[in-house]
Every structure is written in structure tokens, then in C-alpha cells.
């Protein structure tokens, strides 16, 4: 690597202050620091520093998303293939080669568009502000494709990414300053701006929207079907059902095992509970993700499910609480979205409250408001907004403890 090092040493003065390309220093530095940890040394305070930096932290999150991404590619390919064959019950593990290829053709362009658009905007802001690229978008750029339905047009991914990066992050000051989770901002933007492309039962399988599929073929997701239980017309996988058999038909179509492995339609990264849990294990083991948030989020969701079971009286209320954790984006949101340290609560106690309420609200929206089958996205965005208030009360408790000491002394 000596030769790369030589290039850096040779080029560095040109980009330094007073150099020929001074204006382009942020770009140079962004690439240079990607290849090398820079030769910056400590000036003030502690003379040695922990080995960890933001790049390593962020790349760990990306590694943690890889299982969900790989499974998502296969899953997208599978349903694309199923649409073409016109058979919803086609064997999941057959024809792997074709499915992987088709999956790649669906997911890769989305990743490229997301990173391409996002990084371009980030570079423009970095140049304007005169600092190197900050690492936050490395994670957001991967999260955005993973929360999209398979059939979403690429231009929408681009528009949503641009909206999320500019309005969601850069106007607040960049990485570390945003209030709302970037990837969820992108999804929420599409959800409200182009609802037909983001919900309903046509969008989850690639190719379904153009061809319309074959008669009797449904692209419904478990979540969409469950949401229909709250309406007059209950359906499971395209077939109308009555309330007495709704749950059993649902469980036949989406067995708990299938949902856990992820053999059901849905957004690209969200379907496999197991793949997400591998990611969760990486995040928790390395300490990058907060156990407090993840655990309390799952607990909150599960308890809310149990409460709804106890109320009962309607098939969606009666759906097992454990199902809620498996289907839709619940697990993905809990592991990768709610734990975003910038937008989550920042105090240790606050994280518990934040996660728990997030889980509760997610299931509440999901079940009680069939217009928003995916409650997790809205719940996390809502809790992002609430996080500073939660922290405020936790901080005040600490302050009061100190005031009390003053009085007794």
C-alpha cells in the first residue's frame, strides 16, 4: 500500500489550504479517509484514543444488515418468479439460481439509486460546508432499499432518498443533527406522496403491477390481509373469508414458521425474522445497537398484542401476539430503525421508555387503523419526535436528585 500512500502524500498539498484544488478538499478527504485512517494525532486532552471511530461503527451496522439483504434478494426473486408462474404456492427453495438472479435485478438497482442520489447530495452539502463526508448516509443508503416494496419504481427511490437526505437531515445540519430517522423519512414520504405504490396488495411482488397477474393471483402480504380483518371485506391471500375462519385461514397461509424464516411477501429487508435476528445479534454483541431499545420495543409490541387478545371480539384482535412480532416490519424496525442513536432517546432510562412505547404504538396503529397497515414506521417516527421529551424528564429526575441533596445537607 506504499504506492497509494505515496499518491496521497503527493496530492495532499494540492488540496490543502492555499493549494490549487483547495475547494475540492472535502472530496479528497472523503476518499482519502476511506482508504486510510488519517495521520491526525491528539492535540488536547487525552493523548491516546479508543480504536473505534464512526466509520467502523457504521460499517458494523451495514454488516448486520447483510443477512436481511441477502434474504431479501432471494425473497424478491422468489415472488417475482411466482408472479410469472402465476402460482402463489410455488416451492420456496426451488430454482434458486433464477430467483437469486431476478432478486439481484430488482434490489441492486435500488441500492445503486439510493447510494447514488444520497451520496451526490451529501457531497454537495459537504463541499458547501467545507468538511469531509460524514458517515451517516452509509447506513441510511442501505436501509432505504430494505424498507421499500419490491415493485417500487426506481425514480421514486431516488426522489424519496433526495427528500430524506435534504429535508430529513441536511437542513438540520447533517449527520448527528437530524430529528427523524432518515430511511423512515424516505418511506413515509413515499407512503403519503404515492400511496398506491406503497400500499395495497399489488406492490409487494415485482412485476405484479404491470401484468396485473393472472386471475385469482394475489400479491397480498400477511399484514395487508390482517388489516382487512378490520374491514367488512376480510380476505386472506386474495380469497374472501368469514370472521369465524379468518384466523385459521390466515395461519394456514402464513404459518408462524414461514414468517419466521421469511417466506412471505413484504418489503425487501423485513420478511425474515431469523435474518434480522442475526443482524440484531451482531449489533448487540458489538454494542453498537442498544439492547435497552430493542428488548423494550419487542416487549411493548408483544404486551400490546396480548392486551388486544384479551379484548378480542374481532379476528385481528385475536391474532396471536407472537405473530405481530414476526410479520410486517416490526422486527426490522425494532432492530435497525428504533435503535438509531441520533433519533432515539439518549439517556439509558429514556431508551427503555422510548422502546416500550414505540412497540405499543406500532401495534396500536397497525391493528386499530386499517388505513395504515404498517404501524411500525409511523410509531418510530412518532417516538423520534417524542424522544427529546422523554429525555427531558429523565434529565429532570437527575437534576431533582441533586437539588434534594442540597436541601438535606
Amino acid at each position: 500500500m506504499k504506492f497509494l500512500e505515496k499518491i496521497v502524500h503527493k496530492q495532499e498539498p494540492k488540496f490543502a489550504k492555499g493549494g490549487k484544488f483547495e475547494k475540492w478538499n472535502p472530496v479528497f478527504e472523503s476518499f482519502m479517509t476511506l482508504a486510510f485512517t488519517p495521520h491526525h494525532t491528539t492535540k488536547k486532552g487525552s493523548h491516546i484514543r479508543d480504536g473505534v471511530d464512526l466509520k467502523r461503527t457504521m460499517v458494523t451496522v451495514i454488516f448486520a444488515m447483510v443477512p436481511a439483504l441477502l434474504f431479501g434478494i432471494y425473497n424478491a426473486g422468489h415472488w417475482d418468479y411466482a408472479v410469472e408462474m402465476g402460482d402463489r404456492d410455488i416451492a420456496f427453495w426451488a430454482d434458486q439460481g433464477t430467483k437469486i438472479w431476478r432478486g439481484l435485478m430488482i434490489v441492486l438497482p435500488m441500492i445503486i439509486v439510493s447510494y447514488g442520489v444520497g451520496l451526490t447530495i451529501e457531497f454537495i452539502f459537504a463541499l458547501r460546508r467545507g468538511h469531509a463526508l460524514h458517515e451517516g448516509f452509509l447506513v441510511s443508503g442501505m436501509l432505504i432499499p430494505l424498507v421499500m416494496p419490491a415493485d417500487v419504481p426506481l425514480w421514486m427511490v431516488g426522489v424519496a432518498t433526495a427528500f430524506a437526505v435534504i429535508i430529513g437531515k441536511e437542513i438540520f445540519g447533517g449527520t448527528g443533527m437530524n430529528i427523524l430517522n432518515i430511511a423512515l423519512t424516505a418511506r413515509a414520504f413515499l407512503f403519503f406522496a404515492y400511496p398506491t405504490s406503497m400500499s395495497g396488495d399489488k406492490v409487494w411482488m415485482s412485476g405484479l403491477e404491470e401484468t396485473g397477474g393472472i386471475d385469482g393471483f394475489s400479491g397480498a402480504t400477511a399484514l395487508g390481509d390482517a388489516a382487512s380483518f378490520m374491514t367488512d371485506k376480510m380476505t386472506v391471500a386474495g380469497t374472501e373469508v368469514t370472521s369465524d375462519i379468518a384466523i385459521s385461514t390466515f395461519e394456514n397461509n402464513y404459518s408462524l414458521m414461514d414468517s419466521m424464516i421469511g417466506m412471505i411477501p413484504g418489503s425487501i429487508g423485513e420478511t425474515s425474522f431469523i435474518a434480522i435476528m442475526i443482524g440484531a445479534a451482531i449489533l448487540l454483541f458489538t454494542g453498537v445497537g442498544s439492547l435497552r431499545i430493542m428488548a423494550s420495543f419487542f416487549l411493548g409490541g408483544w404486551l400490546m398484542g396480548v392486551v388486544l387478545n384479551a379484548v378480542g371480539g374481532n379476528p385481528y384482535f385475536d391474532l396471536g401476539a407472537e405473530y405481530h412480532l414476526m410479520i410486517g416490519g416490526f422486527a426490522f424496525g425494532a432492530v435497525f430503525m428504533a435503535t438509531d442513536p441520533v433519533t432515539a432517546a439518549q439517556t439509558n432510562v429514556g431508551k427503555l421508555i422510548y422502546g416500550f412505547l414505540g412497540g405499543v404504538v406500532a401495534i396500536l396503529i397497525r391493528v386499530l387503523n386499517p388505513a395504515y397497515p404498517e404501524g411500525v414506521m409511523l410509531a418510530i417516527l412518532f417516538m423520534n419526535v417524542m424522544a427529546p421529551i422523554i429525555d427531558h424528564y429523565v434529565v429532570q429526575a437527575n437534576v431533582k436528585r441533586r437539588m434534594k441533596r442540597l436541601k438535606t445537607a
Binding site: A35, T37, T42, K43, S46, V52, G287, V395, N398, R402
Partner: protein, 453 residues
Amino acid sequence: MSKTVKLRKGLDIRLLGAANKVKTDVPMPKVVSIKPTDFHGLIPKMLVKEGEAVTAGQPIFQDKYEEVIKYVSPVNGTLKAIVRGAKRRIMEVQIDVSESQDFAGGTAIDVPGMSGDQVKETMLSAGLWPFVKQRPIDVVADPNQTPKAIFVSAFDSAPLAPDFDFVLHGKEKEFQAGMDALAKLTEGKVHLTLNGKAPADATFTGAQGVQINKISGKHPAGNVGTQIHHIDPINKGEFVWTVNAQDVAIIGRYFLSGKFIPKRTIALTGSEVKDPNYMDVIIGTNIADIVKDRFTSDNVRIISGNVLTGTKIEADGYLGYYDNQITVIPEGNQLKFVLTKGWLGPGFDKFSNSRLFPTFLTGSKKFRLDTNLNGEERAFVVTGELEKVFPFDILPMQLIKAAITDDIDNMEALGIYEVAPEDFALCEYVCTTKINIQDKIRTGLDLIQEECM
């Protein structure tokens, strides 16, 4: 009534180069230097001109605004130079050491018969006062205040710190005399806090007239700030004074003999030092002779003090006023390729409080860490990491943010009066986003001193 405290939070950074418990003799330095920059916020007023002769214990400058606080020469000699920095600020007062270091015969001073004010006056005029520091603000104590307690820590838990049990072994008398003098300065207690993990030397366990506490845990258990917080926390309007254990012995020596002999045992430590060990030196000594031919590599950083809170000095620089050790570590001013030594590398050479590097598996392995930042400065992103190494009932990140934003109300509410920059040294070490936290806290403290004290 003594207290026992157990800490669960903290971090021991395992560095190579701890000092062997062997003392070597070093000759008297040719030059010593007192650096006004060692006393935060001090504006010195010179009392001696360049070229004039000084004797040990003779005031060379005083605090411009608190004239009773004198700073004295540690040796007999001639004032060599007053080194000034930007805006003619006095950076160093260098003194040529004369060959004769015979101290004019002083007489013992009878502490028990003195009043608190008499002890204070003696210490002020003898130049012993700068050894006494105060919390809040962490500066030389304001002699007009009365502290509610005085704290002395009997051990230093910082990386590679000298072992006080070794350096003060056999100095019971001097230490006791110092503690007796300090006890006169407060109406409250004098706290001596021992390491709960290891048996302490008789110098400490035998101390009379003090409250002996025990604290156990990782660094910063030995920091006096941690001990104050857990034993007798400071509220707004209260003062606590602190003295370094070795300086207690210097104070004691003065009261026993009437002579100002500011000798200390320091440790020369660090991964780049051949046979790290201990030696007796005078305060402000020139280190050129000490470190000569002792380095194992060329590109090194020499730190007066420990790696977390010390000051960078040159190879011909001078030991800081309060420092008990010199640490030498490699400079990290090289590019580190991403896949081998950089951010995506395996990281077997990186010590981290997180589990992002495999080194958490290597239980007791010691590391040769350099001064590389290991990253670039960013806005705060990661939460919860500072709390793991900050054993205070204080929210570190919120307090740091209040300090950064000059928010006096919030700083007060969140506990700025209890902390000193050194308490945040570990936070600064672990910070993923490489923020200079100690500096931010110091700025916050300066603002508090200006506006609220």
C-alpha cells in the same frame, strides 16, 4: 466513620511500560522551570528579574489578583529566562541551578500549637499553597474560602500511574505532618481514600486524625473527583480542597524541617522507554538528562503526566508542577491503510472499550498505543458509551452539551460544580466521534468561574 465505595463503571486501559519498582539516581538538573501554564487561569506577576539570584523557597512570582499566593523557586540558582508566548503571556520561568544546594537551616514548626490561619499563612508565604487545589473549577485553592472537607487520594488508577505505596514508603512522618497541617485548614474532615483492591502501605493505613475511606473499581477510582462524589459530594456554594499524596509529604517536610524541599519520586513509564522505573527529582526538573538514551524508538511523544490528562513536552522540556510521572508513547502521525491498520482492519493492535475490535477477547494483554486519533472528529452520534466509563450520578453527554452551548443554568443543574476536566478523560478516550471533551468541560468551568463564582 469510614466509607467503602464500590464502582461498577470505569475502564482500565492496559498499556505496556509500567515502571519497575526500582529507583535510579539522577543528577541534579542544570535548569528547572516553573510553568505558570500548569496553574489554570493564573496570571503571574514576576517578583524577580532575569539574571537575579534566587534561593530555594524564595518567591519568584505571585498571583496578580490574589497576591498572597506565592510561587517559589524549587532550587538555589539564577533566574535564567522568562519565556513568553503569544500576547507576552509568561509560559515558563527558567532557573539555572547553582552547584550549592545547601538549604539554609530552617527549624521545625509546631503544627499542633498553631491555629488554622497561622498554618494558612505559613503555607502561603512558604510557597506550599499551589499544592492545594480546589473543587469546583479545579484551580489553585482560593485562600479566602473555607473548605467543607479536604480530600487526598492514596492511589492513582490512571494508566501506568506510579504506585504511591512504593513512592511514599517510609515517609510516614512527613506524610502525617502534612495531613496534620491540612487538618487545620478545614472545620470538616480530611479524607484519605485507599484502594479497596490492594493493601495500602503503612504510610496511609497508619495516618492519624483523618477519615480513611476505601474505594474499589476501575479507573477513575483513584481520581479524587470520583471519591468526592461518592463520599461527600459538592453542592453549589461549597468548596472542597484536594492535595496530591506526594505533595502532602512535601508540605509535611516543610513543617518538620522548615525547609522547602520539593522532591518527588516520579515514574518514567510508557511503551517506548527502556526499563521503565522510578527516580527522585525536583519539581520542574529538566528532563533531558532523565530521558537521555532511554527511548526505544525515535518518533515518540513525551508526556508530563499520564496519557489521559498529561501535557505534551519536548525531550528537553520540563516536568509539570503536579505531575508524578513521565510517559513516552509512539506518535501516531502515519497514515493507516484501511484493511491492515485502519478502520476496517482486524484491529488486533487496537484497545477499545467497545467490542468492535477482537482485543476484548485478550483478557490481560497489554497494548502499545500511539497518539493517532483513530478517526476524525464528528458531531455526537453514538449514545450510551460515555456513561459506561463515568462513575458519577451525572449525565455526561448532557453536561458536555450544556458546556458546549455555554448554557450556565443547565451546567449548574447537571452538576458542573462536582467535576473537573480530568474526570472526563475516559469519556474523551472512548468517544467515537473524537470530541475534545476535557477541553469543552474546561471552557464550561471557565465560564462558570467568570459568571457564578
